[in-house]
Amino acid sequence: MSTTYLGMPALPAPGDRAFPSFPQAAHAAVRDTTLRGNLRHATHTIRAKRAKAVAEVSDWAQLREAGRRIKDHTLRHLDRYLVQVEEAVTAAGGTVHWAANAAEANRIVADLVKATGEREVVKVKSMATQEIGLNEALQAEGIRAYETDLAELIVQLGKDRPSHILVPAIHRNRGEIRDIFRSEMSAWGRPAPEGLTDTPAELAEAARLHLREKFLRAKVGISGANFVVAETGTLVVVESEGNGRMCLTLPETLISVVGIEKIVPTWRDLEVFLQTLPRSSTAERMNPYTSMWTGTTDGDGPSTFHLVLLDNGRTDTLADQVGRQALRCIRCSACLNVCPVYERAGGHAYGSVYPGPIGAILSPQLRGTATDIDASLPYASSLCGACYEVCPVAIDIPEVLVHLRERVAEGGTATRGGNKVVLRPAKGHAAERAAMRAARWAFTHPGALAAGQRLASRTRRFHPRALPGPGRAWSAGRDLPAVPAEPFRDWWQRTRGGKDEAK
């Protein structure tokens, strides 16, 4: 069985046992006062803005519920919708490829790029391509991939790793960014302007100049997608800077790598997500640019379009009755911004391209819980429930965390690489110690815990024992494990961190 790669260039590979467990990585982050200051400022700013943007729409609860149901329905019939996507994209002039894992996706993309004869590509920020480590794979084939999102550029030039879904360089302040631009831009292309200061406008201008020559000569673009509409074959990319439009329209060849969970059945479904996504992520009524394309259009944009449909652990996640709801995620990052643990630990501690609460439930499902980092992630939370409250598709992250804790502690069946496997309990193994340390870390940080408990009491009523309405289909025949109603500290002491819960 191959391990699922979730993209971590600068540290030991995530499947590697050498990657520190969550509390070890988090300890380092907490000691870094610059990092903590940057993170606190950023998450608090965006949190307040989001609340305001959401309050503007009186039907938020209905939009959120519709979003949940659209995604659940799609997942419920995913085989059918995948085939429909394939038919629609093919009919519109695109070519569809299927990739069961990261290695296969990387090989498909590298072969497609090589077939064009090009040696460089421009990229729009995409979680899926980070997840599979595409840039590194292309580099190994002699192909240079240029990140064009400003934050991704900062990360790439700084030989760094992303630490936030929406603002990948959230851990860098303006002075650090100026230093990176000054010292690194020349190795990649147009150098930083003389006398560059650290004002954001000047830094953005430096990025504009640096990237423009790359956009204007690019022959191959690589993207992900926020949504794929099954009935029409339309792909949607939501962005702010215009680098997405550049990559999606100027090159002759466009390759989009998209997780199979990104599908929505109908054109009309976009009316829900184009309202909830911008308000949840950038806290805007609408993001500056959204591009939608269906196959190829004569004389406008790329003449060749490839869609790579990526599994890489998603079908394994789909097989888990409780955990599959994580596939509803639209990567808005609202859960990161409200998470007291993320705020203190920083994005890097989560050991994958998916940080914060969503990472804590997604990575251990996509990759399994065999390593210290993955076994400790379900414990990297105070179960306060703030993530669930803000989630625009109502993923009950605390519920999935409790479920995954149970599995780490007690063992049980899971699906890995399409096969059912029986996991041994962590008891007595290194994974158990890593998990216990993570739990202790999350609840001995008073700030994290206090904030957590305050919110917990408010969110209790949102945790039903069984899903109401058609959601029942998902939970037929079984009750959902209850999120403990008692304060986390008491619960922890009583159950020794969930270990005794199932007994």
């Binding site: 204007l216 702010s240 009309r268 309202q275 591009s291």
Partner: protein, 219 residues
């Protein structure tokens, strides 16, 4: 086994626990959310569009049809543009008053991105504008041209016909659009908040977006 078969097989096995469900999609997802937020008359909707466009740093102008050629001429002159991209189906009257010294550049398939980069401005119409979000949507119709002509020049003047092209909300806009056309939704000039979440307007797309609300009354 091909990866296609492998993935589809995994999906089917993963869903083995789920009871059969043949509910038609229209019934599976009830849509009790609003078609639009609030009730506004035509003038109120145009005012909201103007306010939201301005809130995201688009420069908004209002005009009647008769005043449009004069206003566009003024905006190009004020900008100091030496050249302007003209989509093939743009109403010729719109540029009738514009100084003939300003070079008209046609939207041609052969133009390279480098050539487009030397053009100062672009004037287009739009497909629809959304008041609640301050968004204009382009769909590549002849009065809007290829996507790249509204991307590379640094100055975009977009004419919205009021009230004919204005809708209140995102759901109303999607109803009017054709999915098979390449669509670009624009809400203010390009922006980034990637540096300490400080919003900076103008990164790769046009740094100046001017929207003209042209009231023609005939829809």
């Amino acid at each position: 086994m091909s990866s296609r078969e492998r993935i589809l097989g995994r999906v089917r096995r993963a869903l083995a626990d789920v009871p059969p469900d043949d509910t038609p999609y229209e019934e599976a997802v009830p849509r009790p959310y609003l078609r639009r937020h609030g009730d506004r008359d035509v003038a109120g909707t145009a005012d909201l569009l103007a306010a939201n466009l301005a809130d995201y740093r688009a420069v908004v102008h209002r005009s009647d049809t008769a005043g449009l050629p004069g206003l566009i001429a003024h905006l190009l002159a004020q900008r100091g543009s030496a050249s302007v991209l003209v989509p093939p189906g743009l109403d010729p009257a719109w540029l009738a008053d514009t100084d003939t010294d300003i070079t008209r550049v046609a939207d041609r398939a052969e133009s390279t991105p480098g050539e487009l980069d030397r053009v100062d401005s672009v004037v287009t119409g739009c497909a629809v504008a959304i008041a609640e979000t301050g968004t204009i949507v382009l769909d590549g119709s002849p009065d809007q041209g290829r996507r790249r002509i509204t991307l590379i020049p640094d100055h975009h003047i977009c004419v919205v016909r009021v009230p004919g092209q204005v809708v209140s909300s995102v759901p109303e806009a999607l109803e009017r659009l054709t999915p098979s056309r390449p669509l670009t939704w624009i809400s203010g000039p390009s922006a980034t908040s990637d540096i300490e979440l400080d919003r900076v307007e103008g990164v790769h797309g046009p740094r100046t977006l001017e929207v003209v609300l042209a009231e023609d009354g005939d829809g």
